[in-house]
């Protein structure tokens, strides 16, 4: 259970203690340190947004000194690599990034107002399924997961995608999140056959099936879906146990083909919000710097080494939180 002392904003004194006593420049992952001179850095000193931008550091030691002495409310670095990062000029390439924010997951079981253990776990499950698709279907490598404080960032350094533009990145988001209804009519030699997405166990139809199953299994009676009325929602929840065994055919027949179509159309549009597409398509975005403090919730932005065992409430809590008086 999460202690009352967690998820509260850090005081300026706590920030200073964190950067002086706990934080180490070596905590910054290599994927940042090996490109520090090519990136733009941004800082939020007062908790009003990152308005100290266009910062550059010629070495990790200068970055270390800056963070240690300024103890900012939040620290960020660009996903982009520039020839002249101080002017955001001479764009070379950008990481491909996916941001899953726990509070923005389209169907949340917890129903909490902000972020809690349940929705953070859900965010990690989503991240895990995105990684499977990125590797299995898209064949991408060099993927890093970062706990951001309120969710997770997937950061890809595969050279084959780093020079891709926003439009291609938008298509990747749609593919990964299952945001488009797969076609269900296929023709060969003049004859057309109907094939539902769940009968095709690979490629995009499989991605769509996985994301749709996940959404349906997480529906709650309070979930609002376009085109899905209370009666349909109730029937879906009553019959969703069939999906646990992948018995899609039975599930579909219980719901009825027309209503099934409405359901999956609605879930496809909801899936678009699984990741924050704005972050993925923005080539010049700044992202929270791993190892820095998320002062709003007093959590460390932490690279996740093992996604199976990672627990943010064990690995991303700064020491000062344990020393707070209740």
């Amino acid at each position: 259970m999460v202690s009352d002392q967690l998820l509260k904003p850090a005081t300026p004194e706590e920030r200073r203690r964190y950067y002086r006593e706990e934080w180490d420049v070596k905590d910054i992952p290599e994927f940042i340190s090996n490109s520090v001179q090519k990136r733009e850095f941004g800082f939020d000193h007062m908790g009003r947004g990152p308005n100290d931008r266009y910062k550059v550091f010629r070495s990790m030691d200068l970055l270390r000194k800056f963070l240690r002495y300024r103890a900012p409310f939040a620290a960020y670095s660009s996903v982009a690599f520039y020839e002249k990062p101080q002017r955001r000029d001479g764009w070379i390439k950008s990481e491909l990034v996916f941001d899953v924010d726990a509070k923005d997951i389209p169907i949340r079981e917890c129903g909490c107002q902000g972020v809690c253990e349940v929705c953070l776990n859900q965010a990690l499950e989503i991240i895990s399924s995105l990684i499977d698709t990125l590797k299995g279907d898209l064949g991408l490598k060099d993927i890093h997961v970062v706990y951001s404080g309120r969710g997770y960032h997937l950061r890809l350094f595969d050279e084959s995608v780093m020079t891709m533009d926003s439009d291609v990145r938008g298509q990747i988001v749609q593919y990964l999140s299952g945001a488009e209804l797969p076609r269900n009519e296929y023709a060969a030699e003049g004859v057309t056959y109907k094939l539902e997405h769940f009968t095709i166990p690979f490629g995009y139809p499989q991605v769509f099936t996985d994301r749709t199953r996940y959404a349906i299994l997480h529906l709650t009676p309070e979930t609002q879906l376009d085109e899905v009325n209370q009666k349909l929602l109730k029937d879906v929840m009553k019959n969703r146990e069939f999906l646990e065994d992948n018995q899609w055919g039975i599930f579909r027949s219980k719901i009825g083909p027309q209503r099934y179509l409405k359901l999956i159309r609605s879930i496809a549009s909801l899936n678009m919000a699984l990741v924050d597409a704005k972050v993925s398509i923005d080539l010049k975005r700044i992202l929270r710097l791993p190892s820095s403090l998320h002062s709003m919730v007093s959590m460390k932005c932490t690279e996740v080494k093992n996604i199976e065992t990672f627990d943010p409430f064990k690995e991303a809590v700064p020491k000062f939180v344990y020393e707070r008086k209740s």
Binding site: G136, G139, V161, D165, D167, Y186, A187, I200, G203
Partner: protein, 453 residues
């Protein structure tokens, strides 16, 4: 046997045809061989002399006319263009293709309506020709072209440009370990075993078969056409005087493209133009209506600045920007900036005020961004002297809205047939005007009465 050049004008065979072709001036000369091939093409209508190309210049124009009429005219007569599907015209057709590409490149450049239509026409012609081939011929041609264009493994990352221009959708491809699955053996070995109760061979035919290969080849050749247009344009910039033959051909292409606007237009309008006119909020799409009601914190900036400002300004001043494809400035339409001051800005500012919290309350600097998105630079006041310092942003497409502001997309019936909120507006505006014009007096009165009730 079909010559590959009939489908792929960038093949070695096609280049050979170009190399062997003589003097460019002969394209105007009556060509007996061509006329004979045209008139003897199966099911060709020869009753109308106008529909027979007499020389290569004619053939080039007929290629464009075929596409424009096919796309716009429901009464399109296939028999008038049957020769375009006749494989024996390949030699003439390749020359006509290169003439067209060079003409539109030199005269209009790559970012023009003429170039865009040329690329689309080439894609559609290839598709139609493939559809006319025997299955065995089609497979031979597909195999030959694929081997030339894509030897070895086919990675999806090789198609960044096609994905970027949405000529190909990632979700249409069958992907595994980064490869686009085209080869049957690969499919059977790596994916076929996952299928239950289905014949993997048949599933390959259905899911991949010839269709994906055809799609990829088609889109690659369209992309090559686009690239070639850019290349020719770059070269032409270094030349002193373009060939007058090409300029003349380019002008005739424009005439053909203007025909549907004059003849078919938007729902039969006399000129096809949709003029600037006061805004009719009844015709706004659902996404715009949502923003006008006020956004919550989070999506406020993008919704007001990037989405609403371009939409309202274009809807009011230049609604058919995408169809006319000509860059204008706000003052070209609104020289005194009266509509901007009295109609456009108030509407945008009111929507910003309705946000929670009101947008300008915590971010007053966003007023400047609204001015910037209409082309008036980063200044707090809209003044003509600053116009052009920034670009007048065109409205986001529906695809972009779904990515940037997914919460806005609540499509209704009209949305299904459009790709941009501005097209929705024109569509509905035309409908509303039509309804208004066709409603008869007594009906109108009774409508008013019922409204009053």
């Amino acid at each position: 046997m079909v010559n590959v050049a009939f489908i792929n004008p960038f093949s070695d065979e096609a280049r050979q045809i170009v190399r062997e072709y003589g003097n460019l001036n002969t394209i105007y000369q009556e060509n007996g061989d061509l006329i004979q091939l045209v008139t003897r093409s199966p099911s060709q209508d020869i009753s109308d002399e106008e529909s027979i190309p007499h020389n290569i210049m004619d053939l080039a124009l007929k290629r464009m006319e075929w596409y424009v009429k096919k796309r716009n005219n429901l009464e399109f007569d296939y028999r008038k263009y049957s020769y375009l599907y006749n494989r024996n015209i390949t030699n003439f057709d390749v020359i006509a293709f290169y003439l067209l590409v060079q003409a539109v490149s030199v005269k209009f450049g790559p970012n023009s309506r003429e170039s865009r239509v040329m690329v689309e026409a080439q894609g559609k012609l290839m598709e139609s020709r493939m559809g006319e081939l025997l299955l065995s011929e089609k497979r031979d041609i597909l195999g030959t072209i694929l081997n030339t264009l894509l030897p070895g493994e086919v990675k999806w990352t090789m198609f960044a440009d096609l994905l970027s221009s949405r000529k190909i959708k990632l979700t249409d491809l069958v992907l595994d370990q980064g490869n686009i699955i085209l080869d049957k053996d690969y499919f059977m070995e790596n994916l076929g075993f996952k299928l239950e109760h289905r014949d993997p061979g048949k599933m390959y035919d259905l899911l991949i078969g010839d269709k994906i290969k055809e799609l990829i080849i088609n889109r690659m050749i369209m992309q090559k056409t686009e690239d070639y247009i850019s290349e020719v344009y770059q070269k032409s910039q270094r030349q002193v005087e373009p060939n007058p033959i090409l300029l003349e051909l380019a002008d005739k292409v424009t005439e053909i493209l203007n025909q549907p606007m004059a003849t078919y237009g938007y729902r039969g309008g006399a000129t096809g133009k949709v003029e600037a006119s006061p805004l009719n909020q009844e015709a706004f799409p659902p996404c715009v209506k949502i923003v006008l009601e006020g956004m919550k914190s989070g999506g406020r900036n993008d919704a007001i600045i990037l989405f609403l400002t371009p939409f309202i300004s274009y809807a009011r001043l230049y609604p058919d920007v995408f169809r006319r494809n000509t860059t204008l400035r706000v003052s070209d339409v609104d020289p005194e900036l009266a509509a901007v001051e009295k109609e456009i800005l108030p509407l945008i500012h009111e929507a910003a005020e309705r946000c929670t919290p009101p947008l300008f309350e915590d971010q007053p600097q966003e007023k400047v961004n609204i001015n910037a998105k209409m082309g008036f630079g980063m200044h707090s006041e809209i003044e003509l002297k600053h116009e052009g310092e920034t670009t007048w942003y065109t409205p986001m497409s529906c695809e972009k809205v779904k990515l940037h502001l997914p919460s806005l997309c609540k499509p209704d019936k009209t949305c299904k047939s459009i790709g941009n909120p501005l097209s929705y507006y024109i569509h509905r505006l035309t409908d509303l005007r039509y309804e208004e014009a066709t409603s008869e007096e007594p009906g109108e009165e009774s409508k008013q009465e019922s409204r009053e009730e």
